[in-house]
Structures are given as structure tokens and as C-alpha cells.
């Protein structure tokens, strides 16, 4: 089943003297139950693509469909709901709220989820953190955690509302091999549960886990590995 469909999307950045083409006429279907790895040199447009897929950025032209619905036709309210319920983001630098404890960070997406209104959000957040191996780090602030631990908190936060699409922009870029492996396995598990997982990475080890490897160059998909 198609989770994300992009159709002829282009993204231009208009600078003073030049126009940068970050995405150049990309069309593709991302399906549930598959893990996609997007590779390519720095500046090839990977982050731009992921941000467009996650509705954090708008393409200059072309369409993006999430579960068959055109993002361009949604109100900002609907887009926010999609970000909250359907998409989980994982970033290279974790992007945790430094003023909140680990479990409070995980609570953030749940606070605005109507589904959780009657449930004990705090308990739920702690359960997620335990599941990801942070049993004794619940009350720590991000600054008190290692990079690997922070990224685990970020993953727990990304899956807090059980989204069906996971977008990860170089999630293991700052991590050592052990943590990298742990996180890749986690992402693989999620894929096996039926989620659509899209990962941007430089690392070729990741290919072992992926269902599809996409190479990008100058804003274009140049080949789709298996």
C-alpha cells in the first residue's frame, strides 16, 4: 500500500544571483512495510526531500500525497494533525527540548493527541523509554545523556503516537557503531510492523537492512537498488 506518493516535485531556492535546484522533478511511491534508504553526496537534496515528505517544507511545484490525500489541498490544521499522528521525525542532532526531562520530551506529541485524553500519558512515555532500553534515564535531561541515549529518546518521541510513517534524516550520523546498530535494528523492527520507514544516510552498512536503496544526485533519483 502506498504511504507517500510524490509526483513531479521540484524545489528551487532563489538566491540573489542564482537559483539552486534542490529537487528536480522527482516522482516516486513509498510503500508501507518497506524501509527506504536515501543515499547521496552532501547537497544532493536528501534533507530537502525528507522535509517536503514530512510537510515541513513545501515543494515549488509538484504534488505530494499522504495516504492518497494531496498535501497542497489540506488546511494548516490538517497538516499539523498529520505531522502529529501520521509522521514521526528523527533528526541527526536529536532536536530534543533541553529544558525537559527524557520522559517529558516523549510526552510532547501525546499532549495534543486527542486519543490520549483519558490515558495516563506519563506512564505511556515511561513505557516507551523502557522499551527502548532507557529504564534508568527517565528523569534525565538531554544534556545529561549520551548521544546514543538522546537519539533513543528522540525515537521514543517519534513513535509516541504510533505514526505509520517514519522519516529519519541521518539518524545515526553522530553515533558510534554500537548505537547505530541498535537504532537500525529498531527501525527495521518498525518496518516489519508495517510502517513506512525512510532513512537518509551516508553509511553503506545500512544497505543490509533496507528494502530499497535510492541514490540521489543533484536533486534527482539516479537509481533504485533493491
Amino acid at each position: 500500500m502506498v504511504a507517500l506518493r510524490v509526483k513531479n516535485i521540484r524545489k528551487y531556492y532563489y538566491l540573489k544571483n542564482e537559483t539552486i535546484t534542490a529537487l528536480d522533478d522527482i516522482s516516486y511511491n513509498f510503500e508501507y512495510g518497506k524501509m527506504y534508504v536515501i543515499m547521496g553526496h552532501s547537497g544532493s537534496g536528501k534533507s530537502t526531500l525528507v522535509q517536503c515528505l514530512g510537510t515541513l517544507d513545501k515543494p515549488t511545484s509538484g504534488q505530494i500525497f499522504i495516504d492518497g490525500e494531496d498535501v497542497a489541498k489540506m488546511s494548516s490544521w490538517e497538516i499539523n494533525e498529520i505531522r502529529n499522528l501520521k509522521i514521526g521525525f528523527i533528526f541527526q542532532n536529536y532536536n530534543l527540548n533541553n529544558t525537559m526531562k527524557a520522559y517529558e520530551n516523549v510526552m510532547l506529541p501525546m499532549l495534543i493527541n486527542k486519543k490520549y485524553r483519558k490515558l495516563d500519558i506519563q506512564k505511556q512515555a515511561c513505557k516507551l523509554l523502557r522499551d527502548i532500553g532507557l529504564n534508568d534515564r527517565l528523569n534525565h535531561y538531554p544534556k545529561q545523556l549520551s548521544g546514543g541515549e538522546q537519539q533513543r529518546v528522540a525515537i521514543a518521541r517519534a513513535i509516541a503516537n504510533d505514526p505509520k510513517i517514519i522519516l529519519a534524516d541521518e539518524p545515526t550520523g553522530n553515533l558510534d557503531e554500537e548505537n547505530e546498530l541498535f537504532i537500525l535494528k529498531k527501525l527495521r523492527d518498525m518496518t516489519n510492523e508495517g510502517k513506512c520507514v525512510i532513512i537518509v544516510s551516508h553509511n553503506s552498512n545500512i544497505k543490509e537492512y533496507a528494502d530499497v536503496v535510492i541514490n540521489m544526485k543533484k536533486g534527482k533519483f539516479i537509481d533504485y537498488g533493491i
Binding site: N80, R83, I112
Partner: protein, 400 residues
């Protein structure tokens, strides 16, 4: 989202932003300034009010160059009439302390303790302040002044020998009056019968004539000073009206002591300008800092955005944060103001009962709380409106 979560996020945001220390400080300073200005204004106003409405000196009109027999006492708003020289006299006690004796009709005063003039037969009696000062002319409210301030009750029915040129009589204090009611802040004024003042005046006149004769000069021009009638009015607010009425009848009239109304108006304008200045200053600085604070917020706002928070929620969190800011700074301001108030009273050793009390304008606390709310709301409103539509674009700009 439930309110407790709004509160949770706003509290997190408030207590973790260093910029809020500056915001809080600014609001505290502006609150203290507003409290100070309004309290000062209230204190000043009460002094003006008391001295204008109560002090006998501010209710006196002098009518110049008139016949001694002219009777204006039946006029509207006139309490009683006397001549300029027969109104009040400086006298000394046997210990060389000075007192001012003021001559009034027997039923003019209200007495707090003891008896009134019309209740006793004796001639030389006087009514003094409930707390009164015995010494040289007091110049300021210092410790020396406080030491020489006596409780009138200790002196009731006691006698003083009062002296003036060619005059010496034993005077008994028969009653006590409230100093703020008749002679505002004058702690060495005692009231007596008008006839006694005339006696003193005559004795002084005799004395002057003797002196003059001893010097072998021409003493014809030394006479009882007729010519200036003194009118004590009932209502100070109608002083201008009465003055105009007399002027229309051809008299030359001047007030004995006056705080000119325009001076008060001028003062009110200055106070208003100060308050507005404080508010504008706070607003400007808060606005600048809130803009910075919003930028500081940017990274967190971007995280919220990615997690699906809409602008309304973020704006509400910011507003709630500004309410917390106002509450925290108001509480601190009130505490600081209380400390300042206690310290001021301690430093100046002002006994509230006797000296001009320093009023605290409690209204100013409410006012400054409301102002700080409005200021922080407005500055956040403008800061949001400037940043709002660019949040999504910023997100792309930011390295995430």
C-alpha cells in the same frame, strides 16, 4: 490540549529562559516606579488636601485699607472676622520655648480631649494640639523634633507662663485639638480667646510706644494697626468665589497663604508624564527583549512544529508564559516594595501618628500588574505577528 499541559509547557518555557530574568527585572523596576510615583502622588495629595482644607492659614483672606468698624462677618462663607494684628501672636514660655497663640471665637474649635473655650469661665485658657511641640521653631522632622513632641494629655490642666513684650500671663491648657484638623503639621499652635490676643497686641503696642519715646523720636505713626481685616472662611474651595465677591465691592483682597491651584495642576501633569514615561520605557525594553526571547524560542518552536503543534497552541503557551511572568514579577515587586516601605520608615523614623504619613498606593500594585500583563501581551503579540508566517520557512533554514 488540556490546561494543565499548557501550564506545564508555559512553566517549562518560563523558568528555562534566561531572558525572562531580564523581563522580570524590568517589570519589577517599572512596578516599583509606578508604586513609588503613585504613592508619592497620594502622599503629596493628602498633604495638599489637608493643608488646603484644614489649615486655618489657607482659609484666610486679607481685606486691605478698610475701616476698623467694617463688619464682613455676616458674609456668605465667612466664619469669623478679626483684624490682621489681632489674629495670632508669637509668645514665649518661661522656659523660652515658643508657641503661636491664635485667637478664635469661643465656639470655633472642636475639642478631642478636655474642655472647650465656651465651657469655662477663666480668662487665660488655651487649647493645644493632642501632641504638641515645645521648643524653638521646628524646622524639620528630626529626632530632636520627636524628642520635644509632648503628649497633650500629660499637660491638660497644667499652666504655662506666656510672655510677650510687656505681657506676662499664666495660661492653662484646658483642651486638646487634632493638629491635622485645624493647623496641618503645625505642632506649636494653641488656640485661645480673641480677647486675649487683643490684650497681647495692646501690650505690644504700649511697649513699642515706650521704646519709641525712650529714643525720643516722633511716635505719632505708631497706632493700633487698623486697616487690614482678616476673614477666616468656612469653605476653602470657595475662596476664589468669596475673593471675587469682595473685589466686586471694591476691596483690595489677598489670600494670607496660598498653594496656587496651577502649581497642583502642574504637579499632576508631571506625575502623569512620569507614569506614561515609565510605561513607554518598559514597553519598549520589554518589546525588544521579547523579540529576542521569541528568537530564543525559535528552536523549541520548531520542535513543536515538527511534532504537530499548531501556531495557536504555541501562541497560547507564550501568552500563558507572559501571565506567569506578570504574576512572578508582581509578587516580587510587592515584597520589594514592602521592604522599601519598612526601610524608609525606619530610616526617617517617621512616627505615622504624628508626622505626615507615607501612603502606599495599593491601587498601584493592581495597576502595575495590569500594565505588566498588557505590556507582555502586546510585546508577545507583535513579536509573534512578525515571526509567525515565517516559522515554516525558518524550519527549512535551520540546520536540523
Amino acid at each position: 490540549m488540556e490546561f494543565k499541559y499548557y501550564l506545564f509547557l508555559a512553566k517549562k518555557s518560563f523558568f528555562n529562559k534566561k531572558i525572562n530574568i531580564i523581563n522580570t527585572l524590568l517589570l519589577i523596576i517599572s512596578t516599583i516606579m509606578i508604586v513609588f510615583v503613585l504613592s508619592f502622588y497620594k502622599t503629596f495629595n493628602s498633604i495638599i488636601d489637608n493643608s488646603l482644607n484644614n489649615d486655618i492659614n489657607h482659609r484666610i483672606l486679607l481685606v486691605h485699607n478698610v475701616d476698623n468698624n467694617l463688619d464682613l462677618s455676616k458674609m456668605d462663607n465667612v466664619s469669623f472676622q478679626t483684624s490682621f494684628d489681632h489674629f495670632s501672636k508669637y509668645v514665649n514660655t518661661e522656659n523660652n520655648d515658643s508657641l503661636v497663640l491664635i485667637g478664635v471665637p469661643d465656639n470655633y474649635l472642636e475639642v478631642n480631649f478636655g474642655q472647650n473655650l465656651f465651657e469655662v469661665e477663666d480668662k487665660n485658657v488655651m487649647i493645644c494640639p493632642t501632641r504638641f511641640y515645645l521648643g524653638k521653631d521646628p524646622e524639620k522632622f528630626d529626632q530632636d523634633f520627636l524628642d520635644r513632641l509632648h503628649n497633650g494629655k500629660d499637660y491638660i490642666n497644667k499652666s504655662f507662663v506666656l510672655q510677650s513684650d510687656n505681657y506676662e500671663e499664666n495660661y492653662k491648657i484646658i483642651g486638646l485639638y487634632d493638629v491635622n484638623k485645624y493647623t496641618y503639621g503645625e505642632y506649636h499652635n494653641c488656640f485661645t480667646r480673641q480677647s486675649n490676643i487683643i490684650d497681647i497686641a495692646n501690650a505690644e503696642l504700649e511697649y513699642m510706644k515706650q521704646e519709641c519715646n525712650d529714643d525720643e523720636q516722633n511716635c505719632d505713626n505708631i497706632t493700633s494697626s487698623g486697616g487690614t481685616a482678616l476673614l477666616v472662611l468656612k469653605d476653602v474651595n470657595r475662596i476664589d468665589e468669596t475673593k471675587r465677591l469682595l473685589q466686586q465691592q471694591g476691596y483690595v483682597v489677598t489670600p494670607k497663604a496660598s498653594i496656587v491651584k496651577t502649581e497642583i495642576n502642574f504637579f499632576i501633569i508631571i506625575v502623569a508624564v512620569m507614569i506614561v514615561g515609565v510605561i513607554i520605557m518598559t514597553f519598549t525594553i520589554m518589546f525588544i527583549y521579547n523579540k529576542k526571547s521569541m528568537q530564543y524560542n525559535k528552536k523549541n518552536n520548531l520542535i513543536y512544529k515538527a511534532l504537530g503543534y499548531n501556531d495557536n497552541i504555541l501562541i497560547r503557551i507564550n501568552y500563558l508564559e507572559s501571565i506567569i511572568l506578570s504574576i512572578v514579577s508582581s509578587i516580587i515587586s510587592i515584597i520589594v516594595c514592602c521592604i522599601i516601605y519598612v526601610a524608609l520608615n525606619h530610616i526617617f523614623a517617621v512616627d505615622i501618628e504624628i508626622a505626615n504619613p507615607i501612603y502606599v498606593s495599593y491601587f498601584s500594585f493592581i495597576l502595575s500588574f495590569v500594565i505588566s500583563l498588557i505590556i507582555s501581551f502586546l510585546s508577545i503579540y507583535f513579536a509573534i505577528n512578525k515571526n509567525n508566517n515565517s516559522i515554516i520557512e525558518d524550519f527549512a533554514d535551520e540546520e536540523i
